[in-house]
Symmetry: C2
């Protein structure tokens, strides 16, 4: 406590801004993110405006829909609106003043340039928290430090968001689900919004995006792979909206350490951007804050002790979830269709049913507990070995 | 042909400079590097000033020395002097003018600043080849491009170079060997120089380097791990030279693609820095030039075609050798001592003896052929499987 905090944001104040293009509209909130929000007394405010999703709803090519629960009956994840979440967090933290700036460079003395006029302004700070996202400018300075490990990996898929409007004033699909159209290398998902629309996200290799240049080709694609979604999004909307924005890239970022001396630390996507196939990006970022806060308490707010410890503890956990998200991407790309999805889930459930305390599904550990990510990954490797053996002998 | 070439170098002209500190003194030249030198008519000039090393000489803790040949009788690698090599290459290419500059930033229009006065000078170029090493400034611009994959990984070991003087006017150790003192996590190697000195390189975890603060501790370390080297380097020299320069870091860099449009390409360490445990760093860089030149011939000097093809062909090969060098590091760190070294080599030779055409040792493929690195790696994976099976059934 007792720190004087100044918040710098390169984007326009989201409370005043028009819709931000090219950034995902809704986010999946689960246990880790909620615990962090609870810690600052904001869980209820956010959760009350989220839409619970209790299961995935798998859409097969024939139009068949099969729900696959995320966990037990009372376990669900939430679809939350990115803009609203940002607004609430900014307003809740109003005691910090916010300045819209573009950080052009960062030394241990901060050096900013304000966007409008372009004049350069130097800002001095004792301590800097770099939460400036996957393309972090603060992190760029880390690259000049000795022995900083860093990797950024782009996947061959891009994504594009499309809106599915309400149907007769109601959700066009069952609202309390994360809808999935798994078609191996092509995939679409849909998350519900408070205004009864769904945000559909189409994942496709960039090569395939590039091939499609006319509205008719868009329609063909959807008729071939996602026929039940065509009347719900609307043929005309599809033909039009597909060309609004180019497909967006997805990047996976790992680095270590997360700190420089006792004066700077990276958190969130700046420290560990991940592909969106585990729904943990925001949750991992929020959990960073919680872990950092726990260390601040344990180590009496001594940055010189907290920062190395934060790197030591958090790097393996963040790298585990970045890897898991990438693993899900690779697995999905290789052989995920609706039949596989159901089989795999039933196998996991069957093993969990046989050995409820030892065989906790990986998804459950990641999504509904605060089991450290790297421990979840380790247990999963172990379970896979044991599980396969059980399966052989039963 | 017919290109107007300008060479920019951030370091002082090596032909006029005093000794450059902190950079390795000698380099291992083998087949790939020689082929590239041959291509520009400089092989003989360089080879004549290199010292052939026909075998490793393994020094056990007890002082026992066991040679392990690199290949067949006529196969050897060369210890070449970095400074001399650079001088010869600069002089051989004298038609290109050289300017000592420090590249501070790079756009598709080059933007340099001259070192002495610090004034900034813009240089226009149609095409830029970035060969500016592991910490490439040209590559930094690639990081701003969309979908550029990049990783830099520092290993926990550092290295330090020490000189072993001549003994009674002769080499203190047998000259035509690469001497190795393998002690698991500690290791020393020594390469011969034309002036009858050896350059010894000590590899140790930074943690261990940090522990040593007095001359007596240096001596203890060497008495414990490298006792036969102590009288040859000299106790006083050891105590003094150890503290001349801090231990240097080693970084592994992978990236892709290597080009931007038809106007820029990365080569050498700028594209693929590797840890020095396979002796291929320079050879891989020289082979880049050869591969590029071959593509220029095939594709009629059309940069628009050559550059994407260079990335397509060269990225998997460079990543394979970067990985192999890292694999050697990890293997060495885990369990390489003199006994292991001899056993492993004998196993490889035994398999090669049984099946001379199919079981070509990996080291031979990498060092004495131009088998594409990624193919050597693939064959090796395959051989390991078959080899283990053969071994089980014999």
């Amino acid at each position: 406590g007792g720190f004087q905090v100044q918040l710098y944001e390169s984007r326009e104040d989201i409370r005043k801004a028009k819709i931000v293009r090219g950034r995902s509209i809704n986010l999946a909130l689960s246990h880790r993110g909620r615990e962090a929000l609870k810690h600052i007394g904001m869980e209820e405010k956010i959760v009350s405006k989220g839409i619970p999703m209790k299961a995935r709803m798998i859409h097969s090519l024939s139009g068949k829909r099969s729900p696959i629960p995320y966990g037990k009956k009372d376990q669900y994840i939430l679809s939350v609106d990115r803009a609203n979440l940002n607004k609430e967090l900014l307003t809740g933290r109003e005691k910090y003043s916010t300045t819209a700036i573009t950080c052009i460079s960062f030394q241990v003395i901060l050096c900013f340039s304000y966007t409008p006029g372009g004049e350069e302004v130097q800002v001095n700070a004792d301590f800097v928290v770099g939460c400036d996202g996957a393309f972090s400018v603060v992190r760029r300075q880390f690259l000049r430090q000795s022995r900083f490990n860093y990797s950024q990996t782009y996947i061959p898929h891009g994504y594009m968001e499309l809106t599915m409007p309400p149907l007769d004033g109601q959700f066009a699909l069952a609202p309390n689900f994360l809808h999935i159209w798994p078609r191996n290398t092509f995939m679409m998902i849909a998350l519900p919004n408070l205004d009864k629309t769904f945000t559909c996200t189409l994942f496709m290799p960039f090569d395939e995006f590039d091939k499609i240049t006319t509205g008719e080709q868009v329609l063909d694609l959807f008729q071939t792979y996602f026929p039940d979604a065509v009347p719900l999004i609307g043929a005309d909307a599809l033909k039009r909206d597909y060309f609004r924005l180019p497909a967006q890239a997805m990047v996976s970022v790992k680095c270590s350490p997360y700190h420089i001396g006792d004066s700077c630390v990276l958190m969130g996507d700046a420290a560990h951007a991940m592909v969106p196939f585990y729904g943990q990006g925001m949750n991992a970022g929020f959990e960073d804050c919680l872990v950092f806060d726990e260390l601040m308490d344990q180590l009496n707010d001594d940055f010189g002790a907290v920062l190395p410890e934060f790197s030591r503890v958090r790097v393996p956990d963040a790298q585990a979830i970045v890897d898991l998200a990438m693993y899900n991407y690779i697995e999905m790309r290789a052989h995920v269709n609706s039949r596989w999805f159901r089989f795999r889930k039933h196998l996991d459930n069957f093993l969990h049913f046989l050995m409820p305390t030892t065989m906790i599904p990986l998804y459950t550990m990641v999504t509904f507990t605060r089991t450290r990510y790297h421990e979840a990954l380790k247990r999963w490797h172990w379970q896979n070995k044991v599980g396969i053996r059980c399966f052989k002998f039963t």
